[in-house]
Symmetry: C2
Amino acid sequence: MSASAPSHHFIYTDWNLIETQFDPEQINHKGTVFTIGNGYLGTRGSFEEGYPRALSATLINGVYDDVPVVYTELANCPDWLPLTVRIDGENFRLDRGEVLSYQRQLDLQRGILSRKVRWRSPKGKTLDLYFERFASLADQNVLALRCQVTPLDFNGSIAVSASLNGYPENQGYNHWEEIERGDGDGTIWLHVRTRSSHVELGMAAKLLLSGTEGTFQVTSVPGYPTVETTFAVAAGQTATLDKIVTVFTSREAQTPAHVAQEKLAQLSSYSQLQSAHIGAWEEVWQHSDILIEGDTKAQLAVRYNLFQLLVSAPRHDNRVSIPAKTLSGFGYRGHIFWDTEIFILPFFIYTQPKIARNLLTYRYHTLNGARRKASYYGYKGAMFAWESAETGDEVTPRWALPNQPYAEDIRIWCRDREIHISSDIAYAIWYYWQATNDDEWMRDCGAEIILDGAVFWNSRIEWNPKQQRYEIREVIGADEYHEHVSNNAFTNRMVQWHLEKAIAVYQWLCDRFPERAAELETKLGLTAKLRDRWEDMAANLWIPYDPTTGLIEQYEGFFNLEDIDLAHYEPRTRSMQEILGIEGANKRQVLKQPDVLMLLYLMRQSEEFPYNKEILQKNWDYYAPRTDITYGSSLGPAIHGILASDLGQSDEAYKLFLQAAMVDLEDVRGNAADGIHAASAGGVWQAVVFGFGGFKLTQEGPVATPHLPSHWQRLKFKIHWRSTWYDFDLRAEASEQKAEGKIQGVIFDLDGVLTDTAEFHYRAWQRLADEEGIPFDRQANEALRGISRRESLMRIVGDRNYTEAQLEEMMERKNRYYVESIQDITPNNLLPGARELLDELRAAGIKIAIGSASKNARMVIEHLGIADKVDAIADGYSVQLSKPAPDLFLHAAELLGLEPSQCVVVEDAESGIEAGLAAGMLTVGLGPAERVGKAHVVLPSLEGVTWEDLQSQLFGTAAGSRY
Amino acid sequence: MSASAPSHHFIYTDWNLIETQFDPEQINHKGTVFTIGNGYLGTRGSFEEGYPRALSATLINGVYDDVPVVYTELANCPDWLPLTVRIDGENFRLDRGEVLSYQRQLDLQRGILSRKVRWRSPKGKTLDLYFERFASLADQNVLALRCQVTPLDFNGSIAVSASLNGYPENQGYNHWEEIERGDGDGTIWLHVRTRSSHVELGMAAKLLLSGTEGTFQVTSVPGYPTVETTFAVAAGQTATLDKIVTVFTSREAQTPAHVAQEKLAQLSSYSQLQSAHIGAWEEVWQHSDILIEGDTKAQLAVRYNLFQLLVSAPRHDNRVSIPAKTLSGFGYRGHIFWDTEIFILPFFIYTQPKIARNLLTYRYHTLNGARRKASYYGYKGAMFAWESAETGDEVTPRWALPNQPYAEDIRIWCRDREIHISSDIAYAIWYYWQATNDDEWMRDCGAEIILDGAVFWNSRIEWNPKQQRYEIREVIGADEYHEHVSNNAFTNRMVQWHLEKAIAVYQWLCDRFPERAAELETKLGLTAKLRDRWEDMAANLWIPYDPTTGLIEQYEGFFNLEDIDLAHYEPRTRSMQEILGIEGANKRQVLKQPDVLMLLYLMRQSEEFPYNKEILQKNWDYYAPRTDITYGSSLGPAIHGILASDLGQSDEAYKLFLQAAMVDLEDVRGNAADGIHAASAGGVWQAVVFGFGGFKLTQEGPVATPHLPSHWQRLKFKIHWRSTWYDFDLRAEASEQKAEGKIQGVIFDLDGVLTDTAEFHYRAWQRLADEEGIPFDRQANEALRGISRRESLMRIVGDRNYTEAQLEEMMERKNRYYVESIQDITPNNLLPGARELLDELRAAGIKIAIGSASKNARMVIEHLGIADKVDAIADGYSVQLSKPAPDLFLHAAELLGLEPSQCVVVEDAESGIEAGLAAGMLTVGLGPAERVGKAHVVLPSLEGVTWEDLQSQLFGTAAGSRY
């Protein structure tokens, strides 16, 4: 894991994920990353204007439809995004014309995705475009999208059309049939129905124009209702288009198309909808946020993972759960796995318990499916589906069918054998109950699930008379590289635990709710004989554990398998199963994901057998090196990270945590396009709270014994425990001293920080403009601050006609004039305070670098007479990507031989501060707060600033000032 | 099989299939039936305006794309049909507003599908709409569609929009990604690509308006380019819209979108394109037509089946074949079976040998696929795929996967075991060669297929040392109800035959083309040893035949299976496999389709072992009653029909022939929606030519020994044999006498035939109009001829406002006046000649019926004084469907106790003649030819007409006058 991943063009700030470049190759990875949602639906981060092969998707939880081989999938719903901007016959598209600037930003705090683009059309018209969208968290059936268009160098007519696309597809398949479509009074609507499951969906939209006047027209081809407005705008004038959308399905409304239209008619303005939405997010974050200081990347990544869980969690529906890839992609077809109960649920149990209850109630509603599955396999009780959808019937595909005439079909055995899911659900119910004391729900729902699961186990467990023990044969444990095993320690211990809890729950029911106990006795056949058998089984179910070595054997015979040294296969970019083949992995001691260690992790919460530190260490030493943690299951890294924290291996823990936290942001496994790794996201919360935070529940209540990564100054989170909120605000010991000592270098921007060449630029532009006979003055020059040479020229020439060759020549000429003029720079041009600070830094042994985008930086430094005070220069020749990308500063740190965290950046431009933050450096902003307010410290200039002051401001106030 | 199937609302004429009613329930059956095409593509008979759940499809042969489970399928291509007509905000749709009249017609002779509709919009505007379309047979990349709109009761503005629909679907799946779309100068175009196989397709269209002036506008949403024209028309004025479309794929053009646009720009007018198209069809029918006299239904059905084969046969491409469901539906996914070689090919060999060569060359191009398959299964040579697509690799699905969580997956064994396909192909090649003497092709392509097939057999056949014979074990024969059998007589004999022919072909090659022989020896490894083994195998391959009984056993052990009496299961509507289950059928002596009988049929062509009449009879008696001929395979009936002909069972033969011929027209098996049964269609040609025509190839050349169905007067067809065309014009012996004697009844229309009540109607309308103050006169009355009471009234009131209740009252009033007035009818109102003819008929013992739509018919007859001359009256109360439906006349025949073929209809209206023809009756038309020209005999009136004259005209001129 590199500290930054510039190839993804991301800048990470505390609350904002910023993309700085459009890369068509990454369109589907980014489509996942920029998913928004509100628990009712998720919408992938596709662009309003649409691109070929972009996987656009809006998935509404619970809207399943039939599909071959995998039985059922979440149906991609009609797309509410399409909005095209047409200027002079040309559609705005990033892959046509010229993108002069580009920034896409996901604001996690407010749940808003926005995009700022300056674009020049192939015919040469330049516009600023601003898009933003949100799925209202305040009103789940409301979606909104805003587009602002500002022509820069022309006056003219622009047409904007907004559509509903009734041809959504699941990898080519359109689940919907149009029932009707229509329009009226500037609104359009669509009424469709899934082909097999017959879920109806109604979607309605209106388009509102402000900032100018326009004409409206509705066109209607099958499945693609469209409303178009045409309006005139002048250069500099901004037109605002608001597309407001409502969507309902027959899952929550009898006449969804009708209700969608009615709702649309009643909605207030975009701004009001947005305010309500932002308010709802504020409330959510009050409970679910985690604050990290000292590690912007980790801060952003953690919030990002929590955000993606929050946007996929059902808030008003207890008949759905969170699919393995949330509502953000087609991977696993929207099916629900143990991922929810074991990996995701703790976050909700401890920060949004109502959502946790919804998620568990889904399992209650699918009990009959679990019973049908048990019955199909010849068992009793509730045997939960490994992959579950609407009904709870098993929907794991039986086959992986390679689409080649002579390839072998691969039987998938999870549906038959990965049976620990039933106990995983029991486990989650138990801890939900422990955390919430929600006795009512336990009585009505939870108990029945746990008890009927125990009924299943009674029919599934076998007695081995020879060994005089109970056994569970022919299973798949947590580790899916071994497909046909017996007495898997993970499964057997979880089942044993399940039986123990079933007995306890039954006893509790009898004590507290005897009527319900009697009801379930009858319904589930809970005889005294059966309960005795549970006790007997719990007592005599075999766990393959050797007390002499302290090692738990993953399953009976695992230690007899061929051993393997994974290091021999490095470097690699594929899973060990892909390398060895299914049979090859089956035969070796190689794990896809933690199995014994997973068990130890789960038992850790209450320190139940076989959990203790010594056994953990022994088993860690054995299993961790044999686990395919990089390309096996994405469920592994977070869990390994927590255990590494427990074992005091902080660096390893942090590395594993980052591997989990960046899995989607940086597409660590190459499959982020399929959707968010929800279990990994849940694991990230556990890694931070249980791992780094050392959070534990004791008899006395929740406590935390933190072991923060060395560079974290603070970790703050909330926990809900038995009706009370607990605030944990954990600070690194002696953080100030440590932090101060850390700074080894200062990187100065040049222009506006050490000197001011604005005057020289102005004179050069003025001379050029005069020669060309173009009006230009100081006021016009003001608008060029922070703007590139080409862009400055474009603004000056406006809509005058120049060929590209002429433009090139003019840029060259202006630069010549500028370079000529800076020959006149002298040490007197140093800004006040600069020389003093540089001298002081050198005296203190702090290294100094220049980080300037100017290609003339070196010459200017010479003329300023400070060349001997500077250790390194990163200039316009050093890197490809300009600020706000972190590249220039990272390059400067490298030249100084320092880590980014050892550097301070001094900057006077917003993009420079962003670049410093993205590089993971401390930042000092010179100038007004509206320009450089994102910096750690804001100062008017360097005048009178000492190194001591600076340090004190940088570290003394870090705990409070930024939030 | 009933003689007519009015539930399908079809009228059959010699060349036209006419549908008289729109039934949304039959939309997909009819979608198949009204498929048009040109060998390059097929377009299902969907409507231009589109309906929910209609399976629209345009399939281009060879454009395959990947799909799960079944590997590959013909990708449904962008739909070129969409054309909507909008009047006053309302779209023309048959399921909205009121359909006043409806007729859809497939003109087989000219390859044109047309539709005439009179429609009243929900807002009450009445229009005539006429649509027609064709896929040019003269220029395969050109498609054309015409729409004519005539407002009847309003002047106003009409908008017509024409689109290309880039969202075609194969059962929900869209194989295409849009690359680009565009428009220019009134044209629109689309450039798309298949997702996996990356076949590109370009489609361009223009919309031309004539008959009025209009404005044009192009709109463009993704995947649905649309051109719209808005124009004004006055009542009675006709606007004509021509939509001309071009389509190319990357299979035949490097830049298909570009080529499509260029081609479109060069095209001439709709009329000129249509003339070229009709000319091309004329040429095709000159060789491929079959003329049948005496059986209009059979005539139409035979031509219909041949038409569907002709529109799916590749004319300019030898890398494709004819899929089992042609290019008309999604059944079998466009895969190619033995259906082509064994069932379809004879029609082409003997009437379109160039097409036959294309079809066989497809197998040559897929030889490497067949070799890959052999190699996969561990054999040598060419093992052809049971289901074949682009490459010839095996694409039979391995599994039938029921989409229910706990249903069992069904293994499909045909890919592994139905290996007779390789010899079926050899068989077809041999007979193509025999018929054409195409030595060049045999040298270059055919020989290699036959020889490499024999190489395969050498590796597949096993020697049984115990029995001292060669055997072929573990196969599926022609009968697919038995999936795992050994020494299947059909397979073994076909393989034996194949080896015999391989030896002969090899010898011929050595003699005639020694260089090619040497080349193939090397390439295929044809050693002398191998050739010896072929001889040995051919001599000693076991055929389970018992000369003492004359019975061939279907396979080793078949006679030991449990026997079955199919009669016990009647009546049924499902196959025996569905009733018994797969295993149940496997265990019993029940056949899906002929197997031993199929073998006897195939060996019949050259009377090779084991074919002779006696053996045929014995095996027929055994196997025919055990064959599920109704709901087993659709491949069975035609073959059984031919054998029944051979055995002199004419009635049975005709019944079986009709079962095959009507399989799609009347949806006999309930699965016509999946596409045309191509093998059955090919079987129909064989049943007519080989069965009824008794056509055979002898050493002296082709001969025919006909056994026509008893009511056929003539059968005429052409055969191409070794560069010469042979005309067969077979007439039933003594057909005149037989036919004359047959007529037992005459059905007279009343009004215009026996009397003329037009004057009475006119007076009633006049009186009503006068009372209402509406202008009306004799001229206006003329326009009401043949129009219903309600429609007449609507025309009279025009756009005056009346409530439905008022209209009802007015109709009632007019009828009252009319009924009052016909009280004045006397015998003097009989038309000249009527009474004389009636008397003569009675004297001759001919029964007389009245077939009149009037509800007053009975009263009029009373007043005319002919009630005693009439045996039966079918009037306006008798049936639901009015003329041109045959119902009224069929009812009259029934009242007379006669078969339709025993009746003559006398009519003065076009719709009446059509009704008579549809009823399968002889028809006499009174009036001008432009009105009643379709009748068998046309006369000015009954004046002076005698029964003798009539008979002489009806039968004396039948042989020539009608064609």
